[in-house]
Assembly symmetry: C2
Homo-oligomer: 425 residues x 2
């Protein structure tokens, strides 16, 4: 991944809110789909507090403009692979940094508070992985104290298919699902509202150029299949999950809603923040040949955080409580490139706009746990909030927000925005 | 489900090959999407050895014609629910039985050998269930001899999400997938071609009118969500499955290909063949309230068969070997209505064109086993073929074909056509 002039830390934008912006300085330039009054769904770029309407600046984009950007979803643009994305980034960087362009495109800026964000792509298939080894260990320990990590974990990037139809963009209310749960002491299960509603802090990976059915993606080409990254919250009903998941895996415990943040942060934007290290300890089994190799720096140097705000906290003006903070690379046993290559290794076809979740990204640290199941030790150690409230799992009115930010010496930090949801009973 | 004049056993068609046809007499009238020389993908109806081009007879269909039938997929028509489907059936029955209509629509008939069939709908999500209790018991016994059926089985219609992108219409070559397998005696897994490739005899259910996210489908309304039925083969790599499936369920062992037969046989066509009995023994726990009720006759009186033809059998002119024969209702512990209601019971949204597999439909009889895993007892008891060949699992060159047929006293039998695939190495 090349680090080029678009990452120059001296670069500033004439969109003043971009300079020093937590998420969207001119070094980021993430893509998304928005609508606004009088504007149907269309492609845009986040810059500071604004969205830049791409079709409105088609002429200024010149050769970087493509008809695929005139669609109400980004699937077509994703399908084109990296080159057009790089060209668009380079041109946007020029347009938004050189004040000479201000008059030409300023009218295409719309305040983020005035737009509605949508899913960036039609999700053909959504797959959720389980590459957070500390999460897998923490959860495994609750079910199998003596043998938390199954024998396949260090060979197979474990994943399963999720539900595409219920993927929604950040902000969608989280309706507490009903389902079967079986209390340990009960003879038979009962059907009703979940009592153990949880979040899972994850990254979402958007597939760009995919593969044909029957044709694997070699590890050396996996990076070319990644169109970008969003935040992802795999809302989970733990009581439904515990009762239903054997032998075929999670189903209704997960498929009532999956939330993603609306902005797709490109591999180009993340280039300065990739790392060579990730959570595979020295001495562990080497990956099998088909999973070995790939980029020099496949690890994601993104610091992720989760915040909780209860209804009482909102009423009392108490600031959101940070539930966790940790670096994705410290959580992930398998890289995104390995995930992609493994997914296609049997010939399964990935398609532009497919969404892949990493799985819950917990670090080894006590303050780096990516779900309440882990934080409360399965409900045994409830969390005490600043209001005096306790939480083992999410209650109605709770708001859960995930963020991620990339920092590196000598570069301007960027962020993924946020993925949030409020629970309703 | 009403049995009306379209089921009159005295009804014959002026399309002579329809009369006495194994699958497609005038009492069936299944819908599909086909293309032919000079004809782009379009909706058609199978009648005898022919396909009736629906857009070509729009005028003759009169009020039964709808713009949704002019699409290259049936999702839009499925979304309309049962009423337009019934009206179309009634009108087609008239047109194809009364010889007075012959001159008017005969030119819209195309020989089935001259068309290419396609998936009837864009599959938004594909879910595979596990409602074949004898299959679940047979497979469970191989893993857990003392405890073959898990405690949740008689309460939860077990299902998991499959891969939508790799669903293909019957005839698609089955490319033997590669993947990780771990021989029992080996220290570490190896990556390579699957050695335990299997089929699974299933029914596919096409969703018609779906539900909004967050709004369950009551059992009394579940039948209205079913647009029709196809045959489904959930090709499975057993060696990959055994190594990867814990704890999140099957993934690469299944998602390299799922085959469905092209014709959608409607609930209306199956009305005379539905039964009150299915594979839930008296004395078993009653379904929880949300799964209780529904139609008086929710069981599928379809006799399903699987046939194997090896390359040597083809060369020697040996007839296909029937591997199994059994009635779906004798295999299914949960009805399709219960499947649909359970799937949406947490608010998960089903969409028109979604595909649901029943899971492998094995009966309790020795000749009613729906997979080679069961027939060969996990490879311990290979099958000897008429050629003297042995089979524990599928070999390259093997052709596997599934059929299903509905028969009932006083009615003309109908069939679902066939779902077939040849294995390539």
């Amino acid at each position: 991944m090349t680090i080029d002039a678009t990452h120059d830390p001296a670069l500033t934008s004439w969109v003043e809110s971009a300079n020093g912006h937590r998420d969207f300085p001119v070094q980021n330039l993430p893509l998304g789909i928005f609508s606004a009054e009088g504007l149907e769904r269309r492609a845009g770029v986040a810059i500071g507090d604004f969205v830049l309407d791409l079709p409105a600046i088609a002429e200024a984009l010149g050769d970087a403009w493509l008809d695929e950007l005139a669609q109400p979803v980004l699937n077509g643009f994703f399908a084109l692979g990296a080159e057009p994305r790089r060209a668009l980034r380079a041109r946007l960087s020029e347009l938004l940094s050189d004040p000479a362009n201000r008059d030409r495109i300023e009218s295409a800026l719309i305040g983020q508070s005035e737009v509605t964000m949508h899913l960036p792509a039609i999700v053909g298939d959504y797959t959720d992985f389980y590459v957070g080894i500390h999460h897998a260990t923490n959860v495994g320990r609750q079910f199998r104290p003596d043998n938390p990590l199954l024998p396949n974990y260090k060979y197979v990037p474990i994943g399963y298919h999720g539900r595409a139809s219920s993927v929604r963009v950040s902000g969608k209310p989280v309706v507490r699902p009903s389902g079967q749960r079986k209390p340990p002491e009960a003879e038979v299960p009962v059907y009703g509202k979940s009592r153990r509603l949880d979040y899972e802090l994850e990254l979402g990976v958007w597939i760009g150029r995919g593969n044909q059915l029957g044709e694997p993606i070699p590890i050396g080409e996996a990076a070319d299949s990644i169109a970008g990254y969003s935040l992802l919250n795999d809302w989970s009903a733990r009581d439904l999950q515990a009762w239903e998941y054997q032998p075929l895996g999670p189903f209704l415990a997960k498929n009532f809603l999956t939330s993603v943040s609306p902005w797709v942060v490109t591999p180009e934007a993340l280039a300065p923040f990739m790392t060579a290290d990730f959570a595979r300890p020295d001495g562990d089994p080497a990956p099998l040949d088909y999973l070995a190799g790939g980029s020099d720096k496949p690890g994601l140097g993104l610091t992720m955080e989760a915040f909780l705000t209860t209804a009482a906290m909102r009423e009392q003006g108490v600031a959101p409580l940070r539930l966790s903070r940790g670096r994705a690379a410290d959580a992930m046993y398998w890289t995104v490139e390995q995930i992609v290559t493994h997914h296609a290794s049997n010939g399964c076809n990935l398609q532009p706009g497919d969404l892949i979740g990493t799985g819950t990204l917990s670090t080894a640290a006590a303050d780096g746990l990516g779900s309440l199941l882990e934080i409360s030790a399965g409900g045994k150690s409830p969390l005490t909030l600043p209001t005096g409230e306790q939480r083992s799992f999410l209650e109605d009115g709770d708001e859960l927000t995930i963020t991620a930010r990339a920092e590196a010496d000598g570069f301007v930090a960027i962020g993924l925005g946020e993925c949030r949801g409020v629970v309703f009973g």
